[in-house]
């Protein structure tokens, strides 16, 4: 189960452990069941508990971005470690996925 907090049209979800192709399958399923609520327009992913991510994570984040963009919303991430940030920027995701520095910013 993913930890999540709802605030209006925002959903904050904490990802824990590793985000590889294997883990992506269940993370995607859980995120999409929460995003089935059409009133959610902003997804904020908290990476503070994420210890590993490879390019499979890019697919998961961009896939959710596509769902929310349809609703006029978007995806942001907070607490990315340096290694994950390298993969994040390599893929050009920084152009469409907002990177927030603090949790306060995310829930504002």
């Amino acid at each position: 189960m993913l930890r999540s907090i709802r605030d209006g049209d925002k959903l904050l979800v904490g990802l824990d452990g590793e985000l590889d192709h294997f883990c992506a399958q269940s993370i995607r399923r859980e995120l999409d069941s929460q995003l089935a609520d059409p009133t959610i327009r902003q997804l904020i992913l908290d990476f503070s508990g994420l210890t590993f991510m490879d390019s499979s994570g890019i697919g998961v984040i961009l896939g959710r971005y596509r769902i929310l963009r349809e609703r006029g919303g978007g995806v942001s991430v907070i607490h990315m470690n340096d290694h994950i940030a390298r993969i994040f920027h390599m893929s050009g995701m920084g152009k469409v996925i907002r990177q927030l520095d603090r949790k306060q910013e995310a829930v504002r």
Binding site: F22, Q25, F52, D54, I58, G59, V60, H83, I87, S91
Partner: protein
């Protein structure tokens, strides 16, 4: 070049083994006293190649994936990941950033770009029906050496 150590492990092409392969390569590389950053680079590159063997090579069917690694001159880590799966028809195109044959599975096409960025050398040997062999090399700037250097300086 002197070969100091060598390992090989072969496992079934199931997604659970992506994490297994990362743990194995990290444990083998530890004898080079890598930095946290170097270990993360190596684990990520291996994760990409093993995932590709499982997802693209065997396309979800069962086959065996082999991970080999060796250490030379107490500093150079060589890694090979191979499968006997589908193979790649156009290697140059496959290696281009964002190119993927499986967009419907939310693959990003960034696997080879990640391997190239995080390792010092990458080469791909593949042919349709013959499987794929990925070779990667990384020079490890040993933590002990760095610590000694700062001590001397």
């Amino acid at each position: 070049m002197m070969r100091n150590n060598e390992m090989q492990t072969t496992f079934l092409s199931v997604a659970e083994n992506e994490a297994f392969a990362r743990v194995v390569i990290a444990a083998f590389a530890m004898q080079l006293s890598p930095t946290v950053c170097e270990i993360a680079d190596i684990k990520t590159a291996v994760s990409e190649a093993v995932t590709n063997a499982i997802v693209h090579g065997y396309e979800g069917t069962r086959g065996m994936v082999t991970l080999r690694a060796s250490i030379h001159d107490h500093a150079l880590l060589s890694i090979e990941i191979s499968d006997q799966g589908k193979g790649i028809a156009n290697i140059q195109q496959a290696m281009e950033p964002f190119f993927t044959t499986r967009p419907e599975q939310e693959r990003s096409g960034m696997g080879f770009a990640v391997m190239q960025t995080f390792m010092d050398e990458l080469s791909v040997e593949s042919a349709p029906g013959k499987g794929t062999l990925i070779r990667m090399k990384k020079r490890i700037r040993s933590r002990d050496m760095l610590e000694n250097a700062t001590h001397i300086l």
